[in-house]
């Protein structure tokens, strides 16, 4: 059963933007005054990198899942934004919980629900980042979610990944009938592929039928900003401001006939920041629509 207002980013393929979308939409929602919790269930633990704190081993989260300890929540990583950091230790969860489940003990979904239920009222929004290929972790996340958003790039392999999440979705539905597909997010889209984007949108709309929309906002491809963001631990809207400061520093360096040693690669991240702002608006609006539908049907 869904816990609070939980949204999961899931995709059967890696490198399609799950973590980046999780971090950026969470931070934007938090900056607007909503109380947000991010849970990183990915052993890569890149939410930490996106938010600019040191990589985590994931031991504390794993320990919490195996014992009666509460989730290891790092408070106020940004104003209104709390984080449960993931890391390599979470990679063990699948095998540990598979054997526990085989013995008839609580499975990971039960444990996650039990951990989240006491704190659901503390947050307006809970976002979960998932690994691409781990069935047990993904299904546990979907078991507690109100909705799942599927990011995809435009290549065939990424679009195939949407199908794999559909399988996970079906597996979880008997356990969590509230779960809905929020929609598909096109990620890292080049501005020069308008015709391809249109065809991919149509193909996805055909695949999804009436289940969910392909979000109007797509996240543009800006390699330099992606590199800067992770290198500096900045979110894209923060990078937008940093790029302005960087430009000033560059000009001052020119004036002083010195060189800027650690400048940004991105000169202007405002377009990308705007994409995230618009997508966050679409996602939150869609979540409320799903929530209202759930109330009507119950």
């Amino acid at each position: 059963m869904a816990v609070g207002r939980t949204l999961v980013f899931a995709q059967g393929k890696g490198g399609v933007g799950k973590t980046t979308l999780t971090s950026n939409t969470a931070a934007l929602a938090a900056s607007a005054g909503h109380r947000v919790l991010v849970i990183d269930l990915d052993q890569q633990g890149n939410v930490a990198r996106d938010l600019g704190f040191p990589p985590n081993s994931g031991d504390d989260l794993m320990s919490s899942l195996l014992t009666a300890a509460p989730l290891p929540i790092s408070k106020d990583v940004r104003p209104n934004l709390d984080v449960v950091a993931g890391g390599p230790a979470i990679g063990d969860a699948a095998s540990v919980f598979a054997s526990r489940s085989a013995r008839g003990s609580s499975d990971l979904a039960d444990v996650l629900e039990a951990k989240l239920r006491p704190i659901e009222a503390d947050y307006d929004l809970i976002l979960i980042d998932t690994p691409p290929g781990d069935r047990i972790l993904v299904e546990a996340a979907l078991s507690v979610a109100l909705a799942v958003a599927i990011p995809t790039r435009m290549d065939e392999a990424s679009i195939d990944g949407v199908t794999r999440i559909a399988e996970r979705f079906l597996a979880v539905t008997p356990r969590n009938p509230q779960l809905r597909l929020a929609g598909v997010v096109l990620f890292a889209i080049s501005s020069r592929t308008t015709r391809l984007e249109r065809d991919v949108r149509n193909a996805l709309a055909e695949t999804l039928g009436d289940a969910a929309p392909v979000f109007t906002t797509r996240i543009r491809h800006l390699e330099s900003a992606a590199a800067d963001a992770r290198r500096r631990g900045l979110l894209i809207h923060e990078l937008e401001q940093a790029a302005v400061a960087d430009r000033t520093a560059r000009i001052n360096a020119l004036r002083n006939k010195t060189s800027l040693t650690d400048g940004l690669y991105a000169r202007d991240a405002s377009g990308l920041a705007e994409d995230y702002q618009e997508l966050t608006r679409e996602l939150l609006t869609r979540l409320i629509e799903i929530e209202n539908e759930a109330v009507v049907t119950t």
Binding site: N56, P70, E113, V244, A273, V295
Partner: protein, 196 residues
């Protein structure tokens, strides 16, 4: 001999418009009302740990007890009853209808909100009521209505209307009057009947 060079200080001066910080949280405040409290049938029983917790290596950054309550966000949230608060209303349009709406917007210089108001002015309640009645009339010989399935490939694409409280309340009332399943379906039907 010295070469006269143009004065470039102004050219390199940071442009004030570029330095203006953009508030990316604009338009996001108040979108999420406080979550509804859902009382689950019973919290799943998590078995007591049979084994000791694995030794934690690297510590998570300042983990604190999860039950510690945070002060609520201080951002002002619009009250649902306020009629002067404008907020986004999501409407899902089928791809062909979206094209029609976009074309009308482009050719006539109107925005989505204007087109919606115009559609409701032009379409009568009876027409809307008939529209929604027709979509639900399919019945089996046993009398049980069948579920109306949307054709494949016609899933909605989201647009946003900016509506104030009075407009949202009007839509809710109209939705009830004509038997529309949702606000989104109501707006989509009006636009379809007007532009289709």
């Amino acid at each position: 001999m010295t070469i006269e060079r143009p004065h470039l200080a102004d050219a390199f001066k940071p442009q004030p418009t570029k330095k203006e910080p953009v508030d990316r949280s604009a338009g996001l405040a108040g979108l999420l009302p406080p979550p509804r409290r859902v009382t689950p049938p019973a919290a799943p029983a998590v078995e007591a740990p049979a084994e000791a917790a694995p030794a934690a290596g690297e510590k998570a950054p300042e983990p604190k007890p999860a039950t510690a309550k945070k002060p609520r966000a201080t951002a002002a949230r619009p009250q649902a009853t306020e009629t002067d608060v404008t907020s986004n209303v999501a409407v899902y349009l089928e791809p062909d209808l979206l094209e029609l709406v976009k074309t009308a917007r482009r050719t006539r210089g109107l925005n989505y909100d204007d087109l919606t108001v115009e559609a409701f002015a032009a379409i009568s309640d009876d027409t809307l009521r008939n529209h929604f009645t027709q979509t639900r009339t399919a019945q089996t010989s046993g009398g049980m209505p069948t579920r109306v399935r949307r054709p494949r490939g016609t899933s909605g694409i989201q647009i946003q209307l900016r509506l104030d409280g009075t407009q949202r309340a009007w839509l809710d009332q109209k939705q009830e009057e004509v038997g529309a399943p949702s606000r989104s379906a109501l707006v989509a039907a009006a636009l379809r009947l007007q532009l289709g």
